[in-house]
Every structure is written in structure tokens, then in C-alpha cells.
């Protein structure tokens, strides 16, 4: 196995790990808050579930970039293509946006979602605004997903 191949796989791993950890923390925080708010006001539980779901998308984006790397290097096909050192390095760099931004934005989004849950608990009619606020944060995850995708897809093996 060449260093280039290892770097490409490292990139896929970073994308999934960074965004995955971020989403776990974000969704986890949301879940804790949701449980707390639900004890006070059980009727809003289904609205809280939507808010809790929001920070989960970053993990999916990271996973997605990881899979694209695996597809492009034909790992999923069974026989990994040869990857030169600089190609591998470029793939690794391409994975960084979603790995890093995914990590931070999921945590921040989790916090905004948690705050939105507390708001929803006290004023259920505001749940739509809580969701909108959390989606604001998601914008940057979507942008970094795109950048990661464009870089990774631009490297022809």
C-alpha cells in the first residue's frame, strides 16, 4: 500500500470522525435538553424531536464525503486504485473542511437547538423560529460539504 493511498483513507476517516463527533455531541446535548424540557411540558416532545435531529446532519455530510473518497479510490469496488503522494495529500486536504467545520458547527448547532428547545417548552408556538435559528448554523456545514465535495471530486485518479 502506498503513502498516497493511506493519506486518502486518512482523509475519509477525518471527514467521518470530525463531523461524526460533532454531531454526536450536538445531538447528545439536544437530547439532554429535550428530556429536561419534556418533564416540564410533555406535549411539546414531538417538536423537540425535530430540533434534536438538526445537528445530526453534519455527521451524515462527513460520512458522505468519506464514502465519495472510497468510491473514487475504488475501495468499495474491492481493488483500491493506485494513489500518488500528492493526490493522496490533496484528497486529505479536501476532507478537512467538512471534518473541521462539521465538528464545530454541529456542536454550536446543538447549543442553539437546545436553547430553542427551552424556548419551545415555554412558548410552543415559537418552535418554528427555534428551528430557523438552528438552521442558520447549518449553512456553514453545507458550504464546507460542498467545498470538500468539489475538491475531492476534482482529483482524478
Amino acid at each position: 500500500m502506498s503513502i498516497g493511498q493511506i493519506l486518502a483513507l486518512l482523509g475519509a476517516a477525518i471527514a467521518a470522525i470530525g463531523a461524526g463527533i460533532g454531531s454526536s455531541r450536538g445531538v447528545g446535548l439536544g437530547g439532554e435538553t429535550s428530556a429536561g424540557v419534556s418533564t416540564e411540558n410533555p406535549e411539546v416532545n414531538s417538536k423537540l424531536l425535530l430540533l434534536q435531529l438538526l445537528p445530526g446532519t453534519q455527521g451524515i455530510y462527513g460520512f458522505l464525503i468519506g464514502v465519495i473518497v472510497l468510491i473514487n479510490t475504488n475501495v468499495l469496488g474491492g481493488a483500491m486504485k493506485p494513489v500518488e503522494l500528492f493526490q493522496g495529500l490533496s484528497i486529505l486536504i479536501g476532507c478537512l473542511p467538512i471534518g473541521i467545520v462539521g465538528y464545530y458547527s454541529a456542536i454550536k448547532q446543538g447549543k442553539v437547538a437546545a436553547a430553542g428547545m427551552i424556548m419551545t417548552g415555554q412558548r410552543p408556538e415559537m418552535s418554528g423560529k427555534g428551528i430557523t435559528m438552528a438552521v442558520m448554523v447549518e449553512t456553514y456545514a453545507v458550504l464546507s460539504l460542498l467545498l470538500s465535495f468539489l475538491i475531492v471530486n476534482a482529483i482524478k485518479l
Binding site: T57, T132, F149, N153
Partner: protein, 635 residues
């Protein structure tokens, strides 16, 4: 597309017709009663509200009884179904049953009280048993443990270790017996019987061993027998507790009428709250309200029918007055009103954006879900659910909205050539291998969306006769942004258009801030900085591509997984089918939700940002309560 025009209604009527008139108004469901504003001294009689506190209490009790009985209700609740309906005749029948139903409530309350008493008794028995349990091997009744002329007797606990030492060393001597009844962890429960001469000696030793006297209830029975009695009592209590549960469950038959009664009474309460807003004189009352303009005729006819002596007048809201806001749209657009109202209703004299927003909304949703297979699912399943389950109005609207998104999803799925993650047809847009055209399309649609917003602002300005504002604030920006765009294609035209637009912005943006021409120019230059806002607004539409891509790639991954699993014989096929169905349902679910939310965001931030005037107060007419049932007219 419209905000419904509201009229003021003044109504003067005889007090004796009050009940019938209010019932008619409630049935009409389109009159919002407001605080009557009159300075006429005739109307100074406080409205009779004596009924209200009693009614509130009754409602609380009925509500409590319902919450009790619901726990024992085993009837299947149909998924997503709407609340049941009753007609006026049924609601009157329920009122006639009122006393009987309140008896049920009383029975429930009595049962609850009894259950509370039983819990208390049970806890007491448990505590007593706990106290007696160490002494169950005591061979005499506790009442026999007492001092005599020459001896003294004690029951209590000491450290087990001490007792063992005393035992081994015979510390107490001949004139004292210390008998161990039982041990529990490191304590020994002992029965001490001593000759009086040994009292001080014995007490000193006992104290060293950490002696604590036990006080037992002085029963004449052996402890063992007392415990048996308590256990028997406890069992009786448990039986009664079971009985209470059964008794409560037996009352479940009253659940349906109780729910009906609740809403009938709550409707009455709503009428009483309306009465609170009346101005009342000796024999008449004066009511003020908001009525949608379109309904004034109907309201007049119906109220005249109830009481011919009623005096009604309708008139426009006064200058500066803010009527409540009600949106009215065609049937196809109505489901999208919820998107607007969950942001905020438009201000009374602005514009209802629902109809303009709707095509953009479903189009963006379609681009983000972007799989024709999922689109078919949305477009077929949503109407089927409405047909089969007859859900509540708000759920129906949500499902219609999903169906609309589904139609556009089919279109974009065809463009991207994605069917449950497979690509069986020729591709128009290929986001995986040729991203640029897709991104350009996203930005282009975004520009269209933003210009539509700008157009709305221009429309508002024209309607208000502010043509100059429209030229300075909307046309200028339109020229500037279109010009900048054209510079990429036809530089000569685009350049001048952009410069002209920019010039208007610089020269006029500060016109309302200051009279000083230099200050105006400075704030004009500041306004030009908004170009960055336009750029970030436009880039925001890239999410259409990103979200669509996510759906497609995850669908593809699911299919790759299925392909790997399905290779392994029959079990593999079954497992593969399960993964296929589960995986695509998950992907569709999470992406439809994501597409809905992001499509909302594009409306709220980018589109509404260009023109929207929010802050309308929703129209809340006097209607019948529907916490558990709808009360409808028989016809």
C-alpha cells in the same frame, strides 16, 4: 393572495337576547369580540359574571376526570385521525346529562381520595412492620416486658460484636440474662432481664455496647401474631387498591360524554369571556368586534334572524388602528400559509406573500430532496393518507404541502436522474461529475427568488403611491445586480447598467436620513456596501445543490450496501430488501425534513428580507372549543 379586509362591527341589542345572539355569533365563527369602548354613562353596569368562577372550577374537575379515565381507555386510537364531531343537538343532550356526568366526576374524586387514604395506611403499616420484624422470635407479648418489684426488663439493640464478647466472658453475671432475639447486620436485638441490685452495673455495660432501647407498641399478642395481623391488613388494602383501579376502569364508559361535556362547557366559557368585554346598561348591551369584510352580510342576516331588534353597524377601521390579520388564499396555496404564519403574520396593511412564495417553496424543496423515487412517494402517499385517515385540518395542510414538494421532487429527480439512488435514464444535470452548471442553476434560481422579493417591495411602494421610493430602493438595486450579472456575458451593457444602478443608490439611499448633501452621499456609499449582502444571499442558494447532492450520494451508498448484502443467497436477498426499504425510508425522511426546513429558511431570511413587514396579530374569532371534539352545526 390577500390579507382579508376587516370591518369594525358595533352591535346594540337587548339583554334578554344575549344568550341566543352569542350562541349565533359563536356558531358563525367569524366575529372577534373586542373590549367595547364607550363613554356613554348608561353603559356603566358591570356585566354579570357570577357564573364564571363556578364554570372554571367545573371545567378543571371535568378535565381532571378525563385525564384520570384516559389512562384506562383501551379503545384503539386511529393513527393521525381527526377529533370526532358532535352536532348542536348532541351538545344539548350532553348538557342535559350534566348532573349525571358530574356524579361520575364526584365518584372519581371519592375514589382518588380513598386511594390516597389507603396509600397512607399502607405506609403506616409498612413502618410498623419494619419496627416489629426484629422481634418476631420474642416468646412473650411485648406488654409482658415490664419491671416487677425485684427485676427490670428492657428490649433494645446493641452492637453484635459487644454481645458476642459478653456472651463469651459472661460479663453480666448470674443475676442478669441478656437474650438475643435476632440479629440484623451489625446489630443484635436483645431482651434484658435483671435483678434490681444489678441495675447500675448492667446499664453501664449496656451503654458501652451502644444500647438503644426499642419502644414497641404494647400489644397483648405475640409479635409474630401482630405481624401476621398487619400482613393481613396490608393484603386487604392491596385488594381494595385493585378494586379502586377496577372501579375507575368501569367508569371509562363515561369518557366520551365527559370529553363532549368539556368542550360544551369550554365553549360556554368562551362566550362568558366575550360577555366580559361588553358594555352593559339596564336592559341592553353594546358589543364591538372585528368581522371580515366578506362576512358582514352573512353576520347581519344571521343575527337579524335571531333577534330582529338588534342594531348593527359596520365601518372601516380608524386611521392608525391595527385590525387583526387573517390570510385568505386559493385552495392550492392555503397549505403554505402555515409557512408564513410560523414566521410571523404580515402587518395589517402590507401584503400576503403566500401565493408568490409557494412555487419557489416547492421548487426548492424538490431540488433538495432531488430523488424522483422519493418524489413519487411524497406525491402519492400524502393524498392517500388524507383520504384514508381523514386527519385534522392542520395535518391535512402539512400533507398537501409535502405533496406539492413531491411533484417538484419528481421533476428535479428526472433532471438529476436519480431514482432511489439508481440512475436508469439519461442525465440532464450531473452534480457528481459536472458541478458547475448545477451551481449556476442554483444561483440563477436564487436571483429570481430575490428579484421576486424585490418586486414585492416595489408593488407595496406603488400601492402606497411611493413611486420615487420604488425607483430609488428597488429599481436601482435591480439594475445594479442584473448589470453585475450581465458583465459576465455582455460586458458593455452590463457595465453601464451596474454603474447607473450604483449611482442611483449612492445618490438617493440617504435621502430620508439627512438634509445635508454630504451626509447623504456618505450614507449612500454605506448603502452600496449592501452588495456584499446580495452576494451572501445569492451564495446561500448553493445549499440547494449541497442538500440535493447529500440525498443522491446517500441513496447511492445504500444501494452499494444492498448490492454487497444481496449477493449471499436467499437470506442475503431478504436482508438486502430490508436494508433497501429501511435505508431509503430513513434517507427520504431525513431529507424531506431537511428540505422543508431549509426551504423555509430561504423564504424567511433571503426572500422576506427584501420586503416583508411582519407583526400582524392573528384574527381570533369567538368559536366553539375543540379540545376533544368538534361541535358542528347539524346541517
Amino acid at each position: 393572495m390577500a390579507i382579508v379586509e376587516m370591518k369594525h362591527m358595533d352591535m346594540l341589542a337587548l339583554d334578554r337576547d344575549r344568550h341566543e345572539l352569542l350562541a349565533a355569533i359563536q356558531k358563525l365563527g367569524c366575529v372577534q369580540v373586542i373590549q367595547a369602548d364607550t363613554e356613554d354613562v348608561t353603559f356603566n353596569k358591570p356585566s354579570a359574571m357570577a357564573e364564571l368562577p363556578g364554570l372554571e372550577e367545573q371545567l378543571t374537575r371535568v378535565g381532571w376526570a378525563i385525564s384520570r379515565l384516559v389512562k384506562h381507555d383501551n379503545t384503539k386510537k386511529p393513527f393521525m385521525a381527526d377529533k370526532p364531531s358532535i352536532d348542536t343537538a348532541q351538545s344539548e343532550a350532553v348538557l342535559l346529562q350534566q348532573n349525571q356526568l358530574m356524579e361520575t366526576v364526584e365518584t372519581l374524586e371519592a375514589l382518588e381520595r380513598e386511594a390516597g387514604d389507603l396509600r397512607g395506611q399502607s405506609a403506616r403499616i409498612e413502618a410498623l412492620s419494619e419496627q416489629l420484624r426484629p422481634w418476631q422470635n420474642l416468646q412473650i407479648p411485648p406488654s409482658d416486658v415490664h419491671t416487677t418489684r425485684n427485676t427490670f426488663a428492657l428490649l433494645g439493640s446493641v452492637q453484635k460484636a459487644s454481645w458476642e464478647i459478653w456472651q463469651a466472658e459472661n460479663t453480666f453475671g448470674e443475676l442478669c440474662t441478656v437474650e438475643q432475639i435476632s440479629t440484623q447486620r451489625d446489630l443484635a436485638y436483645v431482651y434484658v432481664l435483671c435483678h434490681n441490685s444489678q441495675r447500675e452495673h448492667a446499664m453501664a455495660i449496656l451503654k458501652e455496647g451502644g444500647f438503644t432501647a426499642a419502644s414497641l407498641p404494647h400489644g397483648n399478642l405475640l409479635v409474630r401474631e401482630q405481624l401476621a395481623e398487619l400482613a393481613e391488613e396490608q393484603q386487604k388494602i392491596e385488594q381494595r387498591q385493585q378494586g379502586i383501579i377496577l372501579d375507575t376502569a368501569a367508569l371509562v364508559v363515561n369518557l366520551v360524554p365527559l370529553k363532549q361535556l368539556y368542550d360544551v362547557l369550554a365553549s360556554k366559557r368562551a362566550r362568558l369571556y366575550a360577555v366580559e368585554r361588553f358594555a352593559v346598561s339596564e336592559h341592553t348591551f353594546f358589543l364591538q368586534a372585528w368581522v371580515p369584510e366578506t362576512m358582514t352580510k352573512t353576520v347581519e342576516e344571521q343575527l337579524m334572524l335571531v333577534s330582529p331588534s338588534v342594531a348593527l353597524s359596520f365601518y372601516d377601521p380608524a386611521e392608525g388602528e391595527e385590525p387583526p390579520v387573517l390570510l385568505h388564499n386559493s385552495a392550492a396555496v392555503t397549505p403554505f400559509e402555515s409557512v408564513v404564519s410560523s414566521f410571523s403574520l404580515p402587518a395589517p396593511f402590507s401584503v400576503d406573500p403566500t401565493a408568490v412564495m409557494m412555487p419557489f417553496f416547492i421548487n426548492f424543496m424538490g431540488m433538495m430532496v432531488s430523488d424522483a423515487g422519493y418524489g413519487l412517494m411524497m406525491a402519492i402517499v400524502a393524498p392517500l393518507l388524507i383520504k384514508a385517515l381523514k386527519p385534522s385540518k392542520s395535518t391535512q395542510r402539512m400533507l398537501w404541502l409535502i405533496m406539492g414538494g413531491g411533484l417538484m421532487t419528481i421533476f428535479w429527480g428526472l433532471m438529476y436522474n436519480s431514482w432511489f439512488g439508481y440512475a436508469p435514464l439519461p442525465t440532464v444535470f450531473d452534480p457528481m461529475n459536472n458541478a458547475m452548471p448545477v451551481m449556476a442553476t442554483c444561483i440563477g434560481l436564487g436571483a429570481l427568488h430575490l428579484f421576486a422579493g424585490l418586486g414585492m417591495a416595489a408593488y407595496l411602494n406603488i400601492r402606497r403611491g411611493q413611486v420615487l421610493d420604488m425607483l430609488c430602493d428597488q429599481v436601482s438595486w435591480f439594475m445594479l445586480i442584473v448589470g453585475l450579472g450581465l458583465m459576465l456575458v455582455v460586458p458593455a451593457v452590463g457595465q453601464w447598467m451596474a454603474i447607473a444602478g450604483a449611482a442611483i443608490v449612492v445618490l438617493t439611499a440617504g435621502r430620508k436620513k439627512s438634509k445635508n448633501p454630504i451626509k447623504r452621499l456618505i450614507s449612500g456609499l454605506g448603502a452600496l456596501y449592501n452588495v456584499t449582502g446580495w452576494v451572501s444571499d445569492l451564495l446561500s442558494y448553493i445549499r440547494l445543490f449541497g442538500m440535493g447532492l447529500a440525498t443522491g450520494v446517500i441513496g447511492m451508498v445504500i444501494n452499494i450496501l444492498v448490492g454487497m448484502i444481496a449477493g449471499g443467497g436467499i437470506i442475503g436477498m431478504v436482508l438486502g430488501a430490508a436494508v433497501f426499504v429501511g435505508g431509503h425510508l430513513f434517507n427520504a425522511g431525513i431529507n424531506i425534513f431537511g428540505a422543508y426546513v431549509h426551504s423555509c429558511r430561504l423564504q424567511y431570511i433571503e426572500f422576506f428580507g427584501k420586503f416583508y413587514e411582519d407583526g400582524g396579530i392573528p384574527f381570533r374569532p369567538l368559536v366553539t372549543s375543540n379540545s376533544y371534539v368538534h361541535i358542528r352545526d347539524a346541517q
